[in-house]
Amino acid sequence: MFSSFMVNAWLIATIVAVVAGVVGFFVVLRGSAFPAHAIPNGAFAGAAGANLIGVNPLIGLGVFSLGAALGIARLSRRGRADAVTAMALVMMLALGAAFLSQSTEYEPAIFSLLFGEILGVSGGQIVPVAALGVLCVVAVGALYRRLLLTSIVPEIAAARGLAPQRVEVAFLVVIACATTMTVPVVGALLIFTLMIGPPAAARCFVDRPGPALVLSVAIALVAVWASIAFSYTTNWPVGFYVSSFSALAYGAGRCYAWRRRRRAAAVL
């Protein structure tokens, strides 16, 4: 399990978990689950397109995820954000279907783009993923106070002259950046799971944002590490385990929050 070819998998999974834990914390806080699902999922079409014209898939992913983030932000100014997100998502998926119909890509390649192939990561993939990961975490760090203010107390944010729309655009771009680096490794569907489950669980256990953020990263790390170990032994897809462990963590969090509330009610 810890043989030389697995070292890359452990390393890259750790980076992905940290980024998903940090970015996902704000996804949950801001109720941005839909864009967090739509951007990685639609970006998959970019990879398919890049394959078709013979470019590095990372470029296709980057272009599509960034285009999705900016497009959703732009169109949401007039009209409902959730309907706009749905439209952007299906348009990108339809483009993806068109690209696939024209290419000779064989099926396992599609499967791995959607569900990831973390066990087959090459050493060359680590550097770009690590660089984009650092970029994401730094960006969230720079936006930290503004993100917190606009999501928790929008009135105070407005009083301080923060433009919520600009913060939203910046945040969507961060999601796009996280998407570009993680989709080739963990797949479009899994990065979403990892951005929702662990942070949502962390919010059930802890109230204060700082500790909740740390806990979110910790849960994401444990979930990913356990998933790799299980996937390695059983040969079942990593994605299945990641989503199961994330859901288990969230279930445990809800139980804990429920019991805490009941105890508080009993004391009163």
Binding site: A33, G79, F192, G197, F240, A247
Partner: protein, 298 residues
């Protein structure tokens, strides 16, 4: 424009019929989905239903049972976790969606390793209107009629509860029950359309025509009508273009029908933005639509 053999081709005729039925049902359910702000749930349920489809494939059950069963279970789970609070709603949808995609990964893996069925992944994920067997048509039509019936029955409390929960509660409407009933109707509609036309098209036809119609008109009845017509027209035009596209490239490698239908729906949605702005409202058009829909209900 009509390439030879368009109307005499069996799959094409099936596609036109199934496409029209699902487009109308999606448009009706879609108008309420968009007004209630539940586009994410509407989309997520297609993925949940798709998981059911791959599960049914693995266990050898009828795909219809898989699609509808998974959709209904998913809708129930979303409601249980907390669809009531607006922000919690997205989270509940996300959690259910996460579990469903994880299961889909497992089922697809088991499907492809245990039976060596090439094309299963793509078939289940994208589907194709041209590969629907004509034997499912009657069932799809019956279930669709049922769904529309349920929506028609609850349409007043449904609208009222999406505009003003206080007013609805004052009239003795159980928000929880109306919400759950709508989620179940949504799950059935989405399950049917994802089995008939694939999950991508399902979301496109659910949200696109409805969101466009709500931007263009402010009465509920007209919104339903516009959405239905838009859905059917883009579906039929898309089928025609896809059929023709087999003759466009020398490789005679056509483009998928979902690409054309989604593009048409998307273009209509984009075009409706400037149109609704020109109607001279300073407030966003949807708000205006909500205002008059509200007037209609109250």
């Amino acid at each position: 424009m009509f390439e030879p053999g368009f109307f005499s081709s069996g799959p094409v005729v099936t596609a036109l019929v199934i496409g029209a039925v699902t487009a109308v049902v999606s448009a009706v359910v879609g108008v309420f989905t968009v007004v209630r702000g539940q586009s994410f749930a509407g989309h997520a349920l297609t993925d949940v239903a798709t998981t059911g489809g791959s599960g049914a494939f693995f266990f050898g059950v009828s795909p219809l049972v898989g699609f509808l069963g998974a959709g209904v279970i998913g809708a129930g789970a979303m409601d249980l976790i907390g669809v009531q609070r607006l922000r919690g709603r997205d989270l509940a949808t996300g959690v259910v969606l996460g579990v469903a995609t994880g299961l889909a990964a497992l089922f697809l893996y088991l499907d492809t390793t245990s039976r060596a069925t090439t094309g299963a992944t793509q078939q289940i994920l994208f589907g194709s209107i041209f590969t629907v067997s004509s034997s499912v048509i009657p069932l799809v039509i019956v279930m669709s009629a049922l769904t529309v019936g349920v929506i028609a029955l609850i349409h007043r409390p449904l609208l009222l509860s999406s505009f003003s929960s206080e007013l609805a509660a004052a009239r003795g409407i159980s928000l929880r029950r109306v919400g759950l009933l709508f989620m179940l109707a949504l799950a059935v509609a989405v399950g049917l359309s994802s089995i008939a036309i694939g999950s991508v098209l399902s979301t496109a036809l659910l949200i696109g025509p409805a969101a466009t119609a709500i931007r263009l008109t402010s009465s509920l009845r007209r919104a339903l009508l516009v959405a239905g017509v838009l859905g059917v027209v883009s579906t039929w035009l898309g089928v025609l273009l896809a059929y023709d596209s087999f003759y466009w490239f020398p490789s005679s490698q056509g483009l998928p029908v979902s690409f054309f239908i989604v593009s048409l729906v998307f273009l209509a949605f984009l075009g409706s933005g400037p149109l609704s702005a020109r109607r001279g409202s300073r407030s966003p058009a949807t708000e205006q639509a909500r205002g008059s829909l509200r007037a209609e209900v109250v």
